[in-house]
Symmetry: C2
Subunit: 363 residues, 2 copies
């Protein structure tokens, strides 16, 4: 087992990465301060892993909420089921919520923990690659609104994260690919060496080779933790973690949450960001082509939905959280391994990027 620490002063917490961790009581006990625990999970994950987690929690009042599975359920109405259970079972301020599942479960459980009685503790037990490398680090919690993704939320750090690589054995290939999109992102924004490693080791990751997975998770978490430690509440540098996300959120919102996986939308969005960067003179066209190749190899989409117009993108992008005073702001790449945020976007270049797939005859 490897242990990383996310360094946030009084809110620092450990990430445990390894196999056979789910049922180990010693990983939970130091991070549960009261006598009550609520496990929040979903209908897909519960039959696979809920009993293992419960077996590690003897001696506590353990309650559970099993939510429907999918991004389309990440809203205030479904969130209310968590509050219902907490109140019906009289959970108090010392309760600990445990998020057992992917990013949706982590985000919702985290926001429930942030807001129940104005804030209680929670532990992340991510069971998808995406959540192990992304949402488990950094304390962003949220639910969606019909007019925008993650628009309602809070910054709330977990007490610890338990990332058990065994849980990836039951992960569908499409979701593994979606997780790899975020792994590739870390290489692109701040870790060129890791990006090149990914170019050489993609086949091992897709084959779920344990050593390759553990290395990719650890390195991704470390990269993200380093960025978050510099800027916990995203007033500056942290925004680079959103590479591809402004495009990606527009795709997700337009298609209806859950039709495109988050990682798939981010993959396409990262390629759009690279394409725009190329048009702006930062990246070479061979960089863009190499990224397209890597994304395709990872089983990820590289063009947006056929039915999305430029206006469909830009209207959605204008309600993105990164918009300031009516200007679209985007994370772009100066080179592979270095990202920056800019609002100096030339409309024609953006339009060219958004219609590039069409011009290439790809859609």
């Amino acid at each position: 087992m490897k242990t990383l620490t996310v360094d946030l002063g009084a809110r620092s917490y450990p990430i445990f990465i390894g196999h056979n961790l789910l049922a180990d009581p010693a990983l939970y006990a130091p991070y549960i301060k009261g006598k009550q625990v609520l496990i929040v999970t979903n209908e897909t994950v519960a039959p696979l892993y809920l009993e293992q987690v419960k077996s590690a929690l003897t001696g506590y009042q353990v309650d559970e909420v099993i939510l429907p599975d999918g991004e389309e359920f990440k809203n205030l109405e479904i969130l209310n089921r968590i509050y219902d259970e907490l109140l019906a079972k009289q959970h108090n301020r010392t309760t600990t919520l445990i998020a057992l599942g992917g990013g949706v479960i982590g985000d919702m459980t985290g926001f429930a923990a942030a807001s129940y009685q104005r804030g209680v503790n929670f532990i992340q037990v991510p069971t998808t690659l995406l959540s192990q490398v992304d949402s488990s680090v950094g304390g962003k919690t949220a639910v969606n609104h019909k007019l925008g993704k993650n628009m309602i939320g809070a910054f709330h750090q977990p007490q610890c994260v338990i990332a058990d690589t065994e849980t990836l054995n039951t992960l569908p290939a499409r979701e593994l690919s979606a997780g790899i999109a975020e792994v590739i992102k870390y290489g692109l924004i701040c870790d060129a060496e890791f990006y090149h490693w990914l170019q050489q080791n993609m086949a091992s990751l897709l084959a779920k080779q344990p050593a390759a997975l553990a290395y990719a998770i650890e390195r991704s978490c470390q990269d993200k933790a380093d960025v978050v430690a510099q800027d916990e509440t995203e007033s500056g540098i942290r925004a680079i973690l959103n590479l591809g996300h402004t495009f990606g959120h527009a795709i997700e919102a337009h298609q209806g949450y859950g039709n495109w996986l988050h990682g798939e939308a981010v993959a396409t969005g990262m390629l759009m960001a690279a394409d725009l960067g190329c048009r702006m003179g930062d990246l070479s066209s061979s960089d863009v082509e190499a990224l397209r190749t890597l994304l395709l190899q990872a089983g990820l989409p590289v063009v947006g939905p056929q039915d999305m117009s430029v206006e469909d993108y830009t209207s959605r992008m204008l309600v993105d959280k990164k918009v300031l005073d009516g200007r679209i702001r985007l994370v772009l790449l100066r080179r592979i391994g270095e990202a920056y945020m800019t609002s100096d976007i030339v409309a024609d270049q953006l339009t060219a990027t958004l219609t590039a797939g069409e011009q290439l005859g790809l859609i």
Copy 2:
């Protein structure tokens, strides 16, 4: 105009108390960092004061949400209307919410500000005595859940508070009394001198004499600010601000939110706390009688609802936020002007307090 400062380090903020403040642009401008403002108010307050506030906000994108009036609308569903408007009008992270109304508007707007895009700024413009002396100080924001009051919320400090005493001229007598309940509370928990002032000046307050009102607001805010500055997130001393609230929340929840005003329930709850303190040997029976007299003079109820049983109280009190490990914890008075928190409650004494009104033939 008087200016108090709530001292919370980087989150410190001023409270402006005086008359004719609502329409003064200079009180708002330094606390609005972006170009967008959303005023949240209700159907009662909007016709009276919305235009005055808007007149102070020229040069901004000013949007508004007018909610139904009442504690029964302080829930997630109505909260969503604030998010709807923010997103429909494309408000970004630099937006400022303005809460124009009483405690319900302040609590909901504050929680919307705490959670919209993981946190934006807000300004409190309280228009009731209760909100001017209570909810505008301390950063507690929340909505109710059907199983408990204020169970979903966050700590989120405003940028400033503008307490215009002119707004009290339109306040119904019953609501003025409800506000005075919280004013009396500050005397009881930490300011015996102020308590004695209230015993001598209650008639002036009820007559809305401007100088008396301004003094009571200023002293209450100062008392509360002093407590909050010691303990922003209620890990200790701040809990004394909840004198009477555990009993009061049980009454409000049992009766359905909105039937008893919050201040009315707190008044009865404070008398219950005093009665229990007397049974435990802390207060004299003449202290309790003097409090009963003062509350009656202020037009406040001094016995709970006729149809509430001991079990109705205790079952509700067990889901209160102050419960720890299944034990009821209460704020009690050691003497007039000094409160403390205890979980050493003798069940028989609590039962005697909860049935005291009945024994006295009062209900």
